[in-house]
């Protein structure tokens, strides 16, 4: 499981297309659709911001608890890492 202090970044080879508020992201043949909230997380994966920082931004933006936001952010980023879309 990823640590809240970890600072993942988008894979340099991840292909991204913005469609409205969301993104289509792809690595090799895998394509994933990111909704508005997931897109915010995606944008934040720059290798400098921690998962805790990202979750804090999400909590502020969408008025959810930081714990809930952190849980969701970690879950999403773990999927992205597993699919090669992000690296830790």
């Amino acid at each position: 499981m990823l640590e809240p202090a970890s600072t993942p970044r988008r894979s340099a080879t991840a292909r991204t297309r913005k469609v409205g508020q969301g993104f289509l992201v792809a690595q090799a043949a895998e394509v994933r659709e990111l909704n508005e909230v997931a897109a915010l997380v995606w944008r934040s994966l720059d290798g400098t911001r921690s998962l805790r920082d990202i979750a804090s931004s999400i909590a502020d933006e969408y008025e959810v608890s930081e714990a809930e936001a952190l849980s969701d952010v970690v879950e999403l980023v773990e999927v992205l890492v597993t699919e090669g879309l992000a690296t830790v």
Partner: protein, 267 residues
């Protein structure tokens, strides 16, 4: 600089014939846009109902499924004129093909040839010597079409491949090739961004001018002119250790790509 342009089709060089069934005679290119220099040529587009029969023509422009007559000539001052002869049906067929852009279907973007993209752009900035009404109608259809996103998608599709190449080249310690791949990818991403902003000139030589114009009319462009030119001119590249430059350029590509919205208009 300003170039004196013909004010009627009668002032065109004699080699550029205007058939009786011409619906439009257009001037376009850098001389019309205001980007001309002392050696700039003048581009003429003659649109006819039936294929023009050219005498003394100097070439044909092969496009996807159609051929376009080309005349290259000079006026008495030595100024070069390039004239292309298109038919109304050819233009209509192009208009049909630019109605929809699908962000998830990159492979379709390659279907528009350079010559086709070029004539569509040139119509949008043209000045009519004949056929003001036709020009107004067709230009409006192009500007409200999916063309910006078709062209942007094609650039990003090419950039994706170059970025993958650059990453692989770094892993293989082929840093010189990685630099070239990253530089080319950056150019294509910038072109994609500019297309998506409605700046449709397809020739890469106008990239700086296009971004300059965009920055002049936009309060918060996703890419500022200084950053662009710093990367384009590879100002911060350390030839002894190019890897940081490649990585930062690829990151900039990704940041810029994320600003290009492929959602259909009205969403």
């Amino acid at each position: 600089m300003t170039i004196d342009l013909p004010r009627s089709h009668g002032e065109l060089p004699a080699a550029i014939k205007v058939p009786e069934d011409a619906v439009a005679v257009l001037l376009s290119g850098s001389a019309v846009v205001g980007w001309a220099n002392p050696t700039s040529d003048i581009d003429v587009y003659v649109v006819t109902r039936s294929p023009a029969v050219l005498t003394g023509y100097t070439g044909r422009l092969a496009t996807a499924g159609a051929e376009v007559g080309v005349v290259v000539t000079h006026d008495p001052t030595g100024r070069r004129y390039d004239a292309e002869y298109w038919t109304v049906d050819q233009i209509e067929a192009l208009l049909e093909r630019i109605q929809v852009a699908d962000a998830a279907a990159d492979s379709t973007y390659a279907a528009l040839s350079y010559a086709e993209a070029d004539v569509l752009y040139r119509i949008t900035v043209a000045r009519a010597l004949v056929g003001e009404g036709w020009l107004h109608k067709v230009s409006g259809r192009i500007q409200s079409s999916a063309l910006p996103f078709i062209l942007a998608g094609r650039e990003l599709f090419e950039a994706d491949g170059l970025i993958e190449d650059a990453v692989g080249m770094l892993e293989a310690q082929d840093t010189a090739s990685a630099v070239l791949a990253a530089r080319t990818a950056f150019g294509r991403v910038v072109d994609g961004y500019l297309y998506a902003q409605g700046s449709l000139a397809p020739n890469a030589k106008w990239r700086y001018r296009k971004l300059q114009d965009l920055c002049d009319r936009s309060n918060s462009p996703a890419l500022d002119l200084e950053t662009y030119w710093r990367v384009e001119t590879m100002r911060e590249l350390d030839a002894r250790d190019p890897t940081p430059w490649v990585r930062s350029t690829l990151a900039l590509c990704q940041d810029l790509v994320m600003t290009i919205d492929f959602a259909p208009k009205g969403n």
